[in-house]
């Protein structure tokens, strides 16, 4: 009965009732009502604090603490200049930028095709359903699918070889940067399609008609109307893709057995047994990831606010 009680107390609370002399709740009971109202959300926030905020906080504090004394230090942050760590960040950022751009462009084109390309209705729902599945099809099985496709003995590799194109002879390998990009695109493209289709749907036909009636060409419509309106959601979606690739661990691990030098791999090695021989540095490494993710989420939030001006999602 606790929650129901609090709601009836609140119904009687407005000051005009008190002025008319209907029994005013005492300060204590009013306070109890407020406490009861907030009590309901305590478990949720306690959980979020223990299993999301506290880990992040502990990593942050650890980044600025000396390993032995616990005193404040910037040594761990400075240690991030180690060449191996700089290179891990660089590979992670490059892979995320490349897959965000490629996934962004091709995902946009596919979303455009089903949204504005006058294709049959079923094509659209089939693509969106498939994207929902594929954007969740990451990790170990995805890695195996690509090994079976363009691994050394993969179907496409073998087929191309029969046609006279020797992929691996030409220097291609699934287990390197380029192979990882190709694999990541399998969840980046669908994510782009899912995120950008609502924006394309929000484009009003009146805008196109207005442009046409004023003598505008298709090119002019896209250059001066559609692209300016779509730029914020497009950029926002690509930032989302960047973050999606940047934090990915399972796919890269399964594909390269942890051999590729990504930030997430190094953190994984650090967990399995202080591979950096410096727990403080492990913290700083993880903090660096969080900072980059915070920046991308902030940009995403700003851009999606901007895009809401024209396209009500």
């Amino acid at each position: 009965m606790a929650a129901a009680g609090s709601s009836s107390v609140r119904l009687l609370m407005p000051s005009e009732l008190n002025a008319n002399g209907i029994d005013a709740p005492t300060t204590a009971s009013r306070l109890w009502g407020v406490v009861k109202t907030w009590l309901v959300v305590v478990p949720f926030f306690l959980f979020a604090f223990m299993f999301l905020v506290l880990p992040a906080l502990s990593i942050t504090v650890g980044s600025f603490s000396d390993n032995d004394t616990g005193a404040f230090t910037l040594a761990n942050i400075i240690e991030l200049r180690r060449p191996s760590i700089v290179s891990a960040y660089s590979v992670s950022v490059r892979i995320s930028v490349v897959t965000a751009l490629l996934g962004g462009v091709f995902g946009f084109l596919m979303a455009w095709a089903v949204s504005l390309g006058q294709l049959p209705r079923w094509v659209r729902s089939a693509l969106l359903t498939f994207s929902g599945v594929a954007s969740n099809f990451a990790g170990v099985p995805l890695a195996f699918a690509f090994v079976a496709t363009i691994g050394r003995l993969g179907a496409v590799t073998v087929l191309l070889k029969a046609l006279g194109v020797d992929l691996y002879g030409a220097g291609f390998s699934l287990y390197t940067f380029i192979g990882l990009c190709l694999t990541y695109l399998y969840f980046q493209l669908p994510l782009m399609i899912l995120v950008i289709t609502p924006s394309l749907d929000g484009m009003k036909t009146q805008w196109r008609e207005a442009c046409q009636s004023l003598g505008g060409s298709t090119w002019q419509f896209w250059r001066f109307i559609a692209l300016p309106i779509l730029t914020p959601p497009l950029l926002g979606a690509m930032v989302l893709l960047f973050g999606n690739a940047f934090g990915a661990y399972a796919t890269a691990y399964a594909l390269t057995s942890g051999q590729i030098n990504l930030v997430t791999m190094v953190i994984g090695q650090q967990i399995s047994g202080d591979a950096l021989h410096n727990p403080g540095l492990g913290n700083a490494l993880a903090l660096g990831m969080v900072v980059i993710m915070v920046i991308s989420v902030a940009i995403y939030t700003l851009l999606s606010r901007r895009s809401a001006r024209w396209l009500n999602r």
Binding site: F47, P55, P141, V195, G247
Partner: protein
């Protein structure tokens, strides 16, 4: 008319190109998984997979984790989302912030932080699967919250609550017998998405060292050739089944639900 026609052609072109990229790996994996017997297609790899007791153990473990994650997640999110909508709308920005956290803290970083805090007293949780479930719930929070919140906004919870209360329903009755049934679609799609995610989750399970399904698949890969492909096909079918069920339920295609944690 000419422009319209060429638009459609270009649309088909991009779609077919993209579809090939999507479909070829699936066909290749399926084909590869059938090649275990020399010279003929057979289901031998699948028979081998299903003959392993480890397969059932790891899958059973992941099933349990998924069930626990769904239950804990719902118990945490449903009352909170309901209450915030009804009484504490001022908490919305805080909730927004919390649901962004799993994206900001990738799974591998979350594992790092969880192990750092909970691998020693006073809170020694690493020996218990509870920590794994907590991690999964944390990763599932964004889409669970968003899907339930969207469901709550689509119905008039204020009127429903007042009507139920005026008929003498207790708060628990209001929540579970009046509000929850109206959220069937949102709750079920949240549950299926959580199921799909937990069954395929590798990062937390392997870093917290639990014998879950995805680490098992990866383990098989080190000793077998065709079985991993068979497991990949099974895994894809499971994901397809869960998401397909969401679609069949008429779960709305939500863009924001994609802002979940990375894997």
């Amino acid at each position: 008319m000419g422009i319209q026609k060429s638009t459609r052609w270009i649309a088909w072109l991009w779609l077919v190109l993209g579809a090939m990229y999507f479909v070829v790996p699936l066909i290749a994996t399926a084909e590869f998984s059938l090649r275990a017997k020399k010279g003929v297609y057979s289901l031998l790899a699948y028979q081998n997979v299903f003959a392993q007791s480890k397969f059932y153990e790891s899958f059973g473990f992941s099933l349990q984790m998924a069930a626990l994650t769904i239950i804990v997640g719902m118990v945490l999110v449903l009352p909170t989302a309901y209450w915030v909508n009804l009484k504490l709308p001022q908490l919305r920005p805080v909730i927004e912030f919390v649901t962004l956290l799993p994206f900001v803290v990738p799974a591998v970083v979350l594992a790092y932080g969880l192990i750092k805090i909970y691998s020693r007293p006073p809170l020694l949780l690493t020996p218990s699967p509870a920590l794994l479930v907590a991690g999964y719930v944390a990763l599932a929070l964004p889409y669970l919250y968003r899907s339930i919140d969207a469901g709550l906004r689509a119905i008039d919870i204020k009127t429903l609550t007042e009507a139920a209360q005026s008929l003498g329903a207790s708060p628990a009755n209001v929540l579970f017998r009046v509000i929850a049934p109206n959220l069937r679609v949102a709750l079920l799609s949240g549950a299926f998405l959580t199921f799909a995610t937990v069954i395929g989750e590798y990062t937390l399970a392997s870093l917290l060292v639990w014998p879950a399904f995805a680490p098992y698949i990866n383990l098989v890969n080190s000793s077998k050739v065709y079985e991993p492909s068979a497991l990949a096909v099974i895994s894809f079918l499971l994901t397809w089944g869960s998401i397909g069920l969401i679609q069949a339920l008429g779960g709305r295609r939500s863009d924001s639900s994609q802002l979940a944690g990375t894997r």
